[in-house]
């Protein structure tokens, strides 16, 4: 089905089902119970998971397949957001043209930046993309202020033309919509003591995320995807067989830039404002973390990574010392204070510390990310503690030996 083999079709169907039932799945705890704070089923978080899932899937097309580590992908996210907000300001509040424009504009930027950066590889490529992204960020703050509105960020205002919508009456800003259905509309369902929120914005992002995911599967399984893997495993060998890797990597760069632009457009569609801080290099670092945490080069990994990070970010930031006191009240006083002090460093304000530590642990001990962890666990359960035999390839990607470093 859909041009996929049987295994991939089942996989895609499972992903679709999981995505569509997210509002229920992420709300496992009854309202008012002690664990209700772990519920992630509110629209803002679910939208973010879907959108950053798209972003990470796109990043993975570049990094996971070709091995080119871009440290400037957030630039495309920011560019997409700006393009989408301009569409809201000038044309219509319907989100479809906005995200289309976001993809086109970021695609053009990706083509230009990629054309230049891809002339180098390895660390030089990372630094070139980083330099371009920082340049976009600085320019958004300085020269391009008429386009980006500088530090305030680009926002909607009442006197925007909005040609297609006609003159809007009233004193409140219009909301983004899809053919009249507003993005922030929600339907709340109460059942079995749970409150489930079904949000238009989330379902819109979810449908787009599924499409994006489907495109990614097709791409991974296509001859084009094989070419990209060839770029990663051994570019030299590829050129010896008479193939030029450049067009392939550039195409991958543009595609992943368009994914990032799409994610940026969706972010703007959920909340119509765009700021330059979306392009900061820490934002680029975040998508790298998501992809690595989930598992670079795997299909599901980036989505999983984006979900885990966005979920933990929201939940961890909410846990303050008061909550911790409730949890550990059963411990003796001195011990309780100690345990709470330790936990408090990692929750609430300390979320970034948790992120950094997790990231370091994953890169060090589990380079394949959570997906590899799950696979290992699965193997452990199935095959008992069978030892690896010597024919198990320890280096399945056939990485060449690192070169010499000469001063």
């Amino acid at each position: 089905m859909f041009g996929l083999n049987k295994k991939d079709t089942t996989f895609l169907l499972i992903v679709i089902a999981l995505t569509l039932f997210t509002p229920i799945l992420m709300q496992p705890f009854a309202e008012g119970s002690g664990l209700a704070q772990f519920n992630g089923g509110y629209p803002d978080l679910m939208q973010k998971v879907a959108i950053f899932g798209i972003f990470a899937v796109g990043f993975n097309i570049l990094f996971g397949l070709t091995g080119y580590l871009s440290f400037g992908h957030a630039a495309f996210l920011g560019i997409g957001s700006y393009a989408a907000v301009w569409m809201f300001k000038l044309l219509t509040m319907n989100v479809i043209p906005a995200i289309l424009l976001a993809m086109v504009v970021s695609g053009i930027f990706a083509a230009a930046i990629g054309y230049v950066s891809l002339r180098r590889s390895g660390i030089y490529f990372s630094i070139l993309t980083l330099a371009f992204a920082q340049m976009c960020y600085k320019m958004a703050y300085s020269v391009l202020t008429p386009l980006t509105n500088g530090e305030t960020g680009l926002q909607l205002s009442l006197d925007d033309p909005r040609v297609l919508d006609g003159a809007s009456e009233g004193h409140s800003l219009p909301v983004t919509n899809i053919f009249g259905l507003p993005m922030n509309a929600s339907y709340k369902l109460e059942a079995l003591g749970h409150v489930f929120t079904f949000n238009v914005g989330f379902y819109f992002s979810a449908v787009i995320a599924i499409i994006a995911f489907y495109v990614a599967i097709r791409l991974f399984r296509s001859p084009f995807g094989m070419m990209l893997r060839a770029v990663k495993s051994n570019q030299q060998r590829m050129t010896y067989t008479g193939l030029d890797p450049k067009p392939y990597t550039l195409a991958a760069f543009v595609i992943s830039g368009m994914y990032a632009g799409l994610a940026g457009g969706l972010l703007a569609a959920m909340d119509p404002l765009a700021g330059a801080d979306r392009m900061l290099w820490t934002a680029s670092g975040e998508v790298v973390i998501m992809t690595i945490l989930g598992g670079a080069g795997t299909l599901m990994g980036p989505v999983l990574g984006a979900g885990v990070i966005k979920y933990l970010e929201n939940i961890f930031s909410k846990i303050n010392e008061g909550v911790l006191h409730q949890w550990f009240s059963f411990l003796p006083d001195g011990l309780e204070d100690l345990v709470i002090w330790i936990f408090a460093r990692f929750t609430g304000e300390g979320w970034h510390l948790t992120l950094g530590v997790t990231f370091m642990l994953v890169v060090t001990f589990l380079p394949g990310g959570l997906i590899e962890g799950l696979k290992r666990l699965n193997k452990r359960i199935k095959g008992g503690s069978k030892k690896r035999d010597k024919y198990d390839d320890p280096d399945p990607e056939h990485r060449p030996e690192p070169g010499k470093h000469v001063a």
């Binding site: 390895g122 660390i123 030089y124 980083l130 920082q134 690595i292 890169v363 060090t364 690192p402 001063a407």
Partner: protein
């Protein structure tokens, strides 16, 4: 003429900081072959060493002076720093005043320890891994270090003044025969430049004129052969990592009066320092230093009003533009040699 000279001078202090950080980055890269994204965090820790020492020195106890009253009519409480009580008012006061220069001595052992801990504890395990993994793990480490500093010192910049003796500005114009007050330059920045020059000179002569430095240079050229000669090159490289950390650390200490330390200053400098390293040529020490000063001075020239009037906003992006042009026209950087980091 005056403005050109002024901008040249203005570029020197930032250029010195870039050069010092880039020097450390290149040392680590040249010896261990590791791309260290946590180097900016080391610079930041150095700056916070200065903060810590100046706080330690001004720790004080309160005494009640019954002869005076404060505005509420209560007996006035007078704070006396411990050092003033111990060493007398004059010497103690001078110690507090000179906290930043003293912090250099204070920071060197700390930074070397931090460097050793980083290399032995973490980076050692990444020599055989691809560069992407090294970038990623040190990026994670940088986040962690940053958050730890943020927890202890808060998110706001902490101003750390230079000693009173260097508070003023130096009037270059008067000295060189121009109008007075045309070219004035704060003493501390002048000192920073001199300090950077001394440190850079020291590192180079250490590598050039000592046996240890000779072995390290040999190891940079061919690690395997040096190992075969029965020299424990790994231990020497670890020491070089400590040295690189100390260089970045003292660069941070001395920069504290110029830019009030905050927890993300390291990241801001790191991105630029990487650009500097790449422009200078990956793995080339003179290249890193030259590119550091070059980019610092270019940045200050670009922030002149005359130039900004022609190309608006150029001061923000000049470094990146230069880096992109150089990488594309001369991929190895200004002084890079063949065969370094070329896939």
């Amino acid at each position: 003429m005056e403005t050109i000279l002024l901008q040249l001078l203005n570029g020197l202090d930032k250029g010195s900081a870039y050069a010092l950080i880039a020097l450390g980055l290149t040392l680590i890269f040249g010896t261990l072959g590791v791309v260290n994204f946590a180097h900016g965090a080391i610079f930041m820790i150095g700056a916070f060493c200065a903060v810590t020492l100046s706080r330690l020195l001004s720790l004080s106890f309160e005494t009640i002076d019954p002869t005076k009253v404060d505005f509420l009519g209560n007996p006035a409480k007078i704070k006396t720093p411990y050092v003033e009580a111990w060493f007398g008012h004059d010497f103690g006061g001078a110690l507090i005043d000179w906290a930043v220069p003293l912090a250099i001595l204070f920071s060197i052992p700390i930074m070397i320890a931090v460097g050793f801990a980083m290399e032995r504890g973490l980076i050692k395990h990444f020599y055989k891994r691809p560069h992407a993994d090294q970038i990623l793990v040190t990026f994670g480490l940088a986040i962690v270090l940053q958050e730890i500093i943020k927890y202890f010192y808060g998110a706001n910049p902490i101003s750390t003044p230079a000693p009173d003796a260097f508070k003023g500005s130096f009037d270059f114009g008067a000295m060189l025969g121009f109008d007075p007050n045309m070219i004035i330059y704060p003493y501390w920045r002048l000192i920073y430049f001199g300090f950077a020059a001394v440190v850079i000179g020291a590192v180079f002569s250490f590598l050039q004129f000592t046996t240890f430095g000779m072995v390290v240079r040999a190891g940079m050229a061919d690690r395997e052969t040096v190992g075969l000669l029965g020299i424990n090159i790994d231990r020497r490289f670890t020491i070089m990592f400590g040295l690189a950390a100390a260089v970045a650390g003292v660069a941070g200490v001395m920069y504290a009066p110029i830019l009030s330390p905050n927890y993300h200053m390291g990241m801001d400098f790191l991105v630029l320092s990487f650009v500097v390293v790449v422009v200078g040529g990956m793995g080339s020490l003179p290249g890193a230093v030259a590119a550091g000063f070059l980019l610092g001075i270019l940045e200050s020239f670009a922030s002149m009003n005359e130039i900004k009037a022609i190309i608006p906003g150029i001061d923000q992006i000049i470094i990146y533009v230069v880096a992109i042009i150089i990488l594309l026209t001369r991929p190895r950087g200004l002084m890079g040699r063949k065969g370094v980091m070329e896939d």
